[in-house]
Structure formats: structure tokens, C-alpha cells
């Protein structure tokens, strides 16, 4: 592990805070997410610390429950992206030849279509349930992971220890799992951090456009959409979820930076 810098410590702290909030949402939130407390956009008071939203629900409670939904869906989608992207990318990079061409060119075609528009079309057709949403996000983002995984596999695949494994008659699966993955892991973890943020932004954008998480379930993008009209009246409720997204993005970036700083790999260097 690379040495900790102040920025990475701060990032780790903020990130763990968000994760704890997501896990312990039912105990932390003062109210149920869909319980109406008062009028639209009430000012902060003892009952609602951050005030109420457009329908008079407690903003803080919705933000806390929203953390759980946003982070949960994002994390699952990122896992899907990495499972699919790494498997296909590793195979393409290690096997090369026509298989690499087929996988990489198909990937290029998907990447050529603007992601948001593709997602809008797909989600307009499919039912907008959370599993479908997770899968769509994960698959769309897996194209980026595939590129990184493929180039890592090409890099590692030319190393002689991979030849040694081949000479032993090891299967492709064994080589991927026992040789390529451990050597690619650190870079992939750092990449996971970056992808996580992109998926979160993507999910929030979809929710904001009404094709993501469906009401009444609270999530950050949806919160911003519900309260955006308040901005006209000087109500800052819409800025709260926006702030949360920004803080989390900075925190994850700081952590990813820290992990990346240790991935300079120089093979077979002689002193």
C-alpha cells in the first residue's frame, strides 16, 4: 500500500462515513422517508433539521435513506461492470487474435453511442425496477472497465511467468484467476473507485430525468429533481443532495488517487 497522505485520510474518513450512513439508515433517520411532517419547504426546525421537501417530508431522513439507495445501486452496478468487464477484457487481452477483435470491436461500437442516450432508450422500453436499472448501469459502464482490463491483461500476458503457466498446461480460467488477476488487482481497485463515481453521477442523472429510481423511493438524483423548483423561490433543498454527491465524489477520488499512486509497475528492473 502506498503511504497515506492527509487528503487520502480525509477521503477514507468521508467515504466510511457515507458507507456507515447507508448501512445504518433505518436507525439514523429521524423519520420514515415518506412520512409527511408539514408544509412544502418548511424552514429547518427542531422536527426537521434540514427542513422539509416539496411534499412536506423530512429532507434529512430522505437524504439518509437516499444514501442507502444511491450507494447500494451504484455499488452493485459497479460490481456488475467489473465482473463483466474484467472477464471479457482479460480473455480478449490474453487470447488475442480474432476473439480479441470480436470482443474489442463490439465494445467500441457500444462505446461509440452516447451512454446517457443509450440508457434513456433502454430504460424507456424496460421496466424501471431497481434490478433492471442496476444491470443496465453495470453493463453500460463495463465497456470502460473492459478497455482497462484488456490493456492490463496484454501487459501482464507478455510476462514470462504467464508463459511458465501455459507451459504447465494450465487452463485459461486458472491463468486469469491466479496469475493475471493478482497482478492487475491494485490498478483495478483504483479503477473501481473512479467507475463508482461515474456510475453514481450517471444514476443521479437518470433519476433526475425521471428514468432512474422511481418515486416514492428516495435517492440523491430524485431528491434534486423533486426540489429543483424550490430554487426559484430561494429554497436550497435541491442543493443538499447535490452537495452530498460532490462530497462523495471528492472523497472517492482522493482514495482512488492514493491507490493509483502505488501502481507504477516496472518489470524486471535491474538496480
Amino acid at each position: 500500500m502506498p503511504a497515506l497522505k492527509p487528503s487520502s485520510i480525509l477521503g477514507l474518513l468521508v467515504l466510511s462515513l457515507f458507507i456507515l450512513i447507508a448501512i445504518f439508515a433505518p436507525w439514523l433517520a429521524p423519520h420514515a422517508p415518506d412520512q409527511t411532517l408539514g408544509m412544502s419547504w418548511d424552514l429547518p426546525g427542531p422536527n426537521a433539521i434540514l427542513g422539509t421537501d416539496n411534499l412536506g417530508r423530512d429532507l434529512l431522513s430522505r437524504l439518509i435513506w437516499g444514501t442507502r439507495v444511491s450507494l447500494g445501486v451504484t455499488a452493485l452496478a459497479a460490481l456488475v461492470a467489473f465482473a463483466v468487464g474484467c472477464t471479457l477484457g482479460f480473455i480478449a487481452g490474453l487470447r488475442g487474435g480474432w476473439l480479441d477483435q470480436v470482443i474489442s470491436r463490439c465494445n467500441d461500437i457500444v462505446m461509440a453511442i452516447p451512454t446517457l442516450i443509450l440508457a434513456l432508450i433502454v430504460l424507456a422500453v424496460l421496466p424501471k425496477t431497481i434490478p433492471v436499472l442496476t444491470l443496465v448501469l453495470g453493463l453500460l459502464e463495463s465497456t470502460r472497465v473492459l478497455r482497462v482490463a484488456r490493456s492490463l491483461a496484454v501487459d501482464i500476458g507478455v510476462m514470462e511467468f504467464v508463459d511458465v503457466a501455459r507451459l504447465r498446461g494450465e487452463s485459461l480460467g486458472w491463468i486469469l484467476w491466479h496469475v493475471i488477476l493478482p497482478n492487475a488487482l491494485q490498478t483495478l481497485i483504483a479503477e473501481f473507485g473512479l467507475r463508482f463515481i461515474f456510475i453514481l453521477l450517471f444514476l443521479s442523472a437518470l433519476s433526475f430525468l425521471g428514468l432512474g429510481i422511481q418515486p416514492p423511493t428516495a435517492d440523491w438524483g430524485g431528491l434534486a429533481r423533486d426540489n429543483k423548483d424550490g430554487i426559484l423561490f430561494g429554497v436550497w433543498a435541491a442543493l443538499v443532495p447535490g452537495g452530498a454527491i460532490a462530497v462523495l465524489a471528492l472523497a472517492v477520488n482522493a482514495v482512488a488517487d492514493w491507490l493509483m499512486s502505488g501502481t507504477t509497475r516496472v518489470w524486471g528492473r535491474k538496480g
Binding site: 510476462m159 514470462e160 511467468f161 508463459d163 511458465v164 501455459r166 507451459l167 504447465r168 498446461g169 494450465e170 491466479h178 496469475v179 493478482p182 497482478n183 488487482l185 518489470w267 524486471g268 528492473r269 535491474k270 538496480g271
Partner: protein
Amino acid sequence: MSLLTVTKLSVVSAGKNPRTLVDNVSFTVKCGEVLGLIGESGAGKSTIGLAILGHCRQGMRIETGSILFNGQELTTLSDRRLRQVRGRHIAYVAQSAGAAFNPAITLGEQVIEAALRHKVYDRQQAQAKAIELFELLGLPQPQQFYQRYPHQVSGGQLQRAMIAMALCAGPELLIFDEPTTALDVTTQLGVLKAISDVIRISGVAAIYISHDLAVVAQISDQIMVLQQGKTVEQAPVEQLLTQPQQDYTRRLLHAQGEVKTPQAGEALVALFIDNISARYHAQAVLQNVSLTLPRGRTLAVIGESGSGKSTLGKVICGLLSPEAGEVSLERQTLPASLRQRSRTQLRDVQLIHQIPDTALNPKERVGSQIARVLACFSDLSRSQRDTRVSELLAQVGLHAELAERFPSALSGGQKQRVCIARALAAQPKLIVCDEPTSALDPLVARDVLALLRKIQQDTGISYLFITHDLQVVREIADDVAVLKAGRIVRQGPVASTLVEPLDDYTRELLRSVPEMRVGWLEETLTA
């Protein structure tokens, strides 16, 4: 008058437990004099070379001592002042020219950069100077060479271009950090000639760093032997070679082991290579190569780089399918491709690579890498495998507790021993050794060769030994085959093949191996 005076220089690694990398080293270099620094890797040679440029690698610092250059103390100089010295007055020639050049800029522009930056010449003068240097260094068509990009020239030419780059601003001191180590012998000869010419003609002082005593002896006036950061001995070349005072120097001088006595009598054929041709895409690499290797013997395959030696090894192992021809092991034809080979066939042929760093998975413990071979090729239980791993490590002269380490915690020699143990774990009939000692220091290399010989005596294994080092051939091989541009030009027992009358190519190979005596370079070049 002395140009450079280094007094009691100590460099330590910063960090939790500081290690002394250079310990109290003192020397002087006079104008026009060449000092050779010699020692194994980790002896602190490069660290000293860089310290003279006022530079320390990351995580190191100069603790004490003074470096006096032209009456100027370098250790206390500010970065800005240091930049005025670097490149202008002291220049550096690194080991791997390939990594030192920017691939996107022409060689000529990179060569004149320092001279322009230090305002020694204007652009036109600098270009003229660069072309003059290219000519002096024996580069073909200097005018065109100026316009070439790094990927368009050979390794030896690139190394010479780097020497031109160092010389262009007219420095008083040159530091050569293993400039020929990455080159093969015939190329090395040309670069050594270029270096010695340049030093003689320009009268520049130099520090020549190498682990090859025979090379240093050709270039230097004085030699300093280093071991683990300490000075072992310093003397004029003649004196050091003829009357070494220290035991370590004596061992370096006799790093070459005994010559192998060829085994008498007929033996069964272990490996038979029949008329193999192979190509990479459009380029033919091997053409109609046929070889036989008797059981329990060693066949050395020699040739300059690009002659197809390593490709031959790949074909035998099944990593590359030949275009035509067959490989058979103990009268059984081996399928061309790895996938078609049976488990026993895979087990019978093992490979030892040139660079142990890249042949071991850096993220897997050493013991587990050896145990995996056992799991693939034997029915041993988990605990039996662990016992066997300890036995194998003991067989190659390593302590059993090394099994728990990752490769990064081992020295180069230890890593190569692990690779040998891993190959032995399969109990193969043939091991293809692809230059297994060329990346190792001479003393370590000698031990590894002795180990390979001992294993052959004990187990009756056969080796196909790929190398460009003729000394290694004499130490380990019974038979030898000389490969040139993918064809066998000569083969037979070592004793009767590498003697006169020779063909030009083999003679060139033989005479390019530096000998450990003063004046070898001049004799070779005038011959």
C-alpha cells in the same frame, strides 16, 4: 591536477531503518583519466555515479562526504547551480539507451539539446558538432542519422547516439553507467571501440561503471573494486589484474569456473530436432535447423542477438509452432502446439528464462509457485508437496524458509535458483535454459552454472543451453551449435568445434568476448 575529488562519501537510504549504500568512499579522477568502478549489483556503483551528478535516487540521501569538481563543492550546490554543471560539465551515459531517448523526437535534436540549453553553441554549430560526433563514433551516414527516430536504429547505434548526446556540450567528465551491459558481444565490441576512441581523441575524463572486469580493464587507467558500498581495493589496471591484494578481487578475476570435461561414449538421443523452420509473421527466423542432443549431455546454442536462438527454445517448448519440421523427445514426436501436448509431454520439457524477475509471478509466494508444478504433474498430497518444496529448495542451495517469501524479497541469484527448483519440480527429461546466467553478476553466475552441472551429474538430465557467452559454453556444454540468421553454420563437440579453422562468423563471436588483460581491445581491433 585532479578534476574530481570525492572524499569520504556516504549515501544512506532514508526511511525507517536507514541502510548505508555507499560507505566512506574516496577517490580522485585527473583530467583525461578513466576510473573504472566495478562490483556486483547492489555494490553502490551507480549510486556513486549519480551522486557525482549531485543526484540521489528517490529514498536516498548523501549523508557525509564531499564531492569537489573543478574546485566546486557539489554536495552543497543549489538545484539551479547544479543544473548548470549537469550536462554541461559532467554528462551521464545510462545503461539502457532505449529507455533514455524520447521516441517522438529525432535523435539529432535530442543530441544537441544540452548544448543549446547551456548556450554552448547556436543551433547550426550544435548540428555540425553532432554530425561530427556521429562520424567519430562510427555511425553510418551521419547526416541521415541525425534525422532518424530512436526506433529506426539498432541498440548498439542507440547506445552510441547517447554517447554523442553526452559529449555534445563538451563536458570535462563523463560517467558511463554499464553502457554495454545490455548489448550482445559483437555489438559490445563496436561500442567499446567507440568509447575508447572518443576518450582518447577528446581527452575527456571518465568514470566507467560495470560489473564486467574484463570490459573495465580495456577502458580504464585505474580500477576501484566495490563490495556492498565499501571500497575493496583501488589500483592501476595492470597492477590490479596481475597483483590483486584482496581476496574478493582475486575471486572476481577468477569468476570463470572450470572447463567441463566432455563425457565419453555413446548415449541415447534425448532430443532430436529435425529440419525445423519457423517464422514470425512474414519474417523467417529459423531455417532448416536440425540438431541432436544425447541424454545426460548439454548442447549449447550460440549466436548473436537476432540469430534465432530463443525462437528455437520456444519451438522446442511448444510456445511457437514451427512452419515445418519436427521435434522429438526420446523418439517420441512432440506435437507442435502446446495445447496438443499431453501432460507427460509438458512435464518432460521445462524452460528456465533469462531474467528471473519476470519469470516468477511477483504476487505469489515462491513456495506456492513450486508447489503448483507438483500439483500439476504429480499425485503428491498437500503436505507431501510442502516437504518436496523444501527438498527442492535445498537441492538448489536455498533455505526452506524462503518458500514463504515473495520473489521481490529475494536476490537475483536466489530468484534464478528458485526458477531452477521450479523446473526440477516437474522431474523433466530436458531443460531448455535461455541465457539463465546473463542477467546475473559474474560470481553469482558461476555458482548457478556449477549448480546446473551438479544437477546434471546427479539426475542425468539433458540441457539445451542458449547463450551468447562463449565462456559459459566451455563451462557447461558438451556439444555446441552456432546459429547465424536462423541457420546452423557449425556444430559438433565443444573441444573440436570452437578451434581453428573457423568461419568468419564464429571467429567474430569468439574474438568479441572481452579477455581480462590490458590491451585486448586494441589487439582485437587491429587484428
